[in-house]
Structure formats: C-alpha cells, structure tokens
C-alpha cells in the first residue's frame, strides 16, 4: 500500500513538473518529427515495402525520442541536490523508481499518440485497423523500455558521457521488448490477424514482468550504493 501511494506521489510530482516546464515533451516531440523527416530520405515513402517495415520505423522513432525523456528523468533531480533529498525521504527505492517509470511511460505514451497519426499521414500507413491491440502493444512495450531505462537513468546520472551511455546500455538489454513490439506493430499495420503472433505478446508481458521485478530488486543498490 505504501509503495503504491509513494509511486503515485512521485509520478504526480514528475508529471506536474513536466506540465509546468514542458521541458522534455516539446524537445522529444520535435525530435520525433525530425526523425520522421529523415526517414523520407532513407527510402521511398510511397513504396509498398514501407508497410512491411512500418513497425520497425515507428519504434525507432519512439526509442530515440524516449531516450531523451529517460535521460532527463534523473538528470533533472541533480539540480539543488534533489536526488539526495529523494533518497533521504521516507520513500524507499521501489516507489521512486516505479513513480518515475510511470511518469515516463505517461509522457512517452502521449508522445506516441501524437506521433502515430502523423506517421500514418506521412507514410500512408493504416494504423486504425487494430487500434485496441495497438494501444496494448504500445503500453506494454513502452513500460518495458521505461522501467529499464528509468533504472539506468538513475545509474548513469553522475556518469560522464551520460547521454551516450544510456542508449548504449539500454538498447541491447531491451532488445527482446523491441523485437516483440516491432513484430506486433507491423502485423497490426498490415491488417493481418494478430492470433499467430500471440507468442510475441507473451514475450512482451514476460519481459515486462521480469524487468520490473529485477529493477525493483536492484534499485536500492543503485540509489543508495
């Protein structure tokens, strides 16, 4: 119960800070649009193959923009020694991690829901076909990425080269989540039934559970030392 309450306190705190400053979301959204633009030079946007690689493209946009969000998650706490305050507060490590992961997930989902229609227009992808399933995939994939990313954001907060370290460490570890999300998203975009890809949904859920438990177990070592 305490963990749950602490999680909500931290999540609301972070979201309120973001709502007032709009520091991250504007930058991340603009960055996502820049990547969408760059894709148009990498291949012919009208080609039929676009649909086959659309899931991968979309998730590339999400993870690159997501890294910006994750990098700031703990970096913003270094000002005025806020991180020391957080660690010294009555909250234990788990609610701090989960709260920040929740707020990062919300931010990323907002970003994804804005990017998705723009992606659909630019690259002629029908994204509304299996919208319910797509939302589930977005939620599960984003949670897995952010829970690992948030822990590693805490881990790399005082490291020189932080901006490069985070993707270098997070992307290889979260690869199974990305693979599953890409596979499912591509299937949904092509309008095919999702049933044969159920194994990927299980991979996604399994990874989410494993990484959440692992992050929760190790966060205390990361924050306190």
């Amino acid at each position: 119960m305490d963990v749950l309450r602490g999680t909500f306190i931290i999540a609301f705190k972070d979201l309120r800070v973001e709502l007032r400053s709009k520091e991250v979301i504007n930058a991340a959204l603009s960055f996502a649009l820049v990547i969408l633009l760059l894709f148009s030079f990498a291949f012919d946007p009208s080609a039929e193959e676009t649909r086959e690689i659309s899931g991968g493209l979309l998730w590339l946009v999400f993870i690159f923009a997501g890294i910006l969000v994750l990098n700031r998650s703990f970096a913003r706490e270094t000002v005025n020694d806020c991180l020391d305050g957080l660690v010294a507060s009555p909250l234990s490590g788990a609610p701090i991690l989960l709260g920040k992961a929740v707020s990062n997930t919300v931010l990323l989902l907002v970003l994804e829901l804005v990017t998705l229609p723009i992606f659909g227009i630019f690259y002629n992808v029908r994204w509304t076909v299996g919208l319910g399933w797509l939302l589930l995939v977005l939620l599960l994939g984003t949670w897995g990425l952010t829970v690992v990313g948030t822990l590693f954001s805490a881990l790399t907060v005082n490291v020189s080269l932080r901006e490069a370290m985070l993707p270098l460490l997070v992307f290889p570890i979260t690869l199974p989540i990305l693979m599953a999300a890409v596979q499912l998203t591509t299937t949904l975009f092509s309008g095919e039934p999702i049933a044969p890809d159920m194994v990927w949904l299980r991979v996604l859920i399994g990874c989410d559970i494993i990484f959440t438990v692992l992050a929760g177990a190790l966060v205390e070592s990361v924050l306190v030392g």
Partner: protein, 228 residues
Amino acid sequence: MKNRSSAILAAASGVMLVITLYLTFLWVPMERTMGVVQRIFYFHVPPFFVAGAAILAGLVASIRFLITRDYRFDDLAVSAIEVGWVFDSINLVMGPFWARPVWGIWWTWDARLTSAFVLWLMFAGYLILRRAVDDPSARAVMCSVVVIFQAVGGVIVYMANRWWRTQHPQPVMGGGQGSGLDPRMWYVFLFSLATMLVLFGALLQTRRRLERLRREIDGLRRTVHSEA
C-alpha cells in the same frame, strides 16, 4: 601463489595451442563439401563457448559482490567480462571468414550471429561504463547491476531471436555444422575448447592480479591525498 598459477596456465595454454594448430591443420580429416575453410570451425566456435562462460562467471561474481561487497568479486567480474569480450571478438571476426565462402555472404542476421553481436555490444557497454566512473565503490555497484541486467537480457534475446527467425527462415542455415561430425572432428573440437578454456583461465588470473594491484594503488593514492 596466484602469480604462479597463472604462469602454469599460460605455459599450458601455449603448449596446447600448438597442439591444437597441429590437430586442426594436419591431423583432422578434410571436410567434404566445405573443404579447408571448415577448419576455422575449431577456432571459431570454442571462443563463443568461452565468452558464454565469461558472462556466467561475471554474473555470479557480480551477484556475490552485491551480497558481500567484497571487491575481489568485482575484480573477478571485470576480468571475466574483459577477457570474455576478447573471445567474443575472436568469434565474431572468424565467423565471416567462414561464412563468405560457404554461405556467399559475410553476415546474416541469424539468431546466433545476432546474439553473439548483442553479447559483444553488452560487454563493450560494460567496459565503457567502467571507464566513465571514477568512484570505485559506485563503479563496482553500478557495473554489478548492469551485468545482472545484461545476463538476463542476453538470455531473452537469444530465446526471442530463435522465435523471431523461425518466422523468417534463413535458407543459408540449412544443415548446421553439428550434423554428423566425424569423431576425429569432435576430438579436435573438444581439445580446442579445452585449450581456449585454459587460455581464458590464464588471462583471467593475470587480469585479476592487474585489477587488484590497480585497486591497491588507487587506495594508496587516496590515502596520500587525504593526508597531504
């Protein structure tokens, strides 16, 4: 003591490497379809097993460090990962030389190749992170956490990759090398594996000693600075 054991291991691996070379190039029969290229197999596959053993050792050492906070386990973890990274590099570099004549391509995103490359990237990330942190206690904790995540992620990547590629079958993987090996080929393979493991042990011991000395020097330097 440790110094001596690493010297013995190094000498043994030197002798065994020569024997492995003899076995590989002169003793073992020629493979019928692939010809001489197949002999890379004896130097290509064992390093991958060693890299796997290295990350396993790194994982166990990291978990034990987090429990005991004994820095000798941190020494072991970094030594295993660094040496394992070298073996994984050997595996990755040798592979394309075999693949080019046999498959006709240098590289394919097949399950095993992808996993080996992801493992290599994880090792590299760990080593870069280590250099980026100055505080030894923070570094040891951070690196331990990273190894645990990487080991778990690595296993899932390998499993997921198998499912991933079964949906897009790669024609080049028909008839793996493991199907119907001549017994003599097995002997050479196993001997080469033993050689690589002894070499791994020798390098591991030397690297551990280096790390321990580094840590001691670092501690002495800190003492001097605090007294000055």
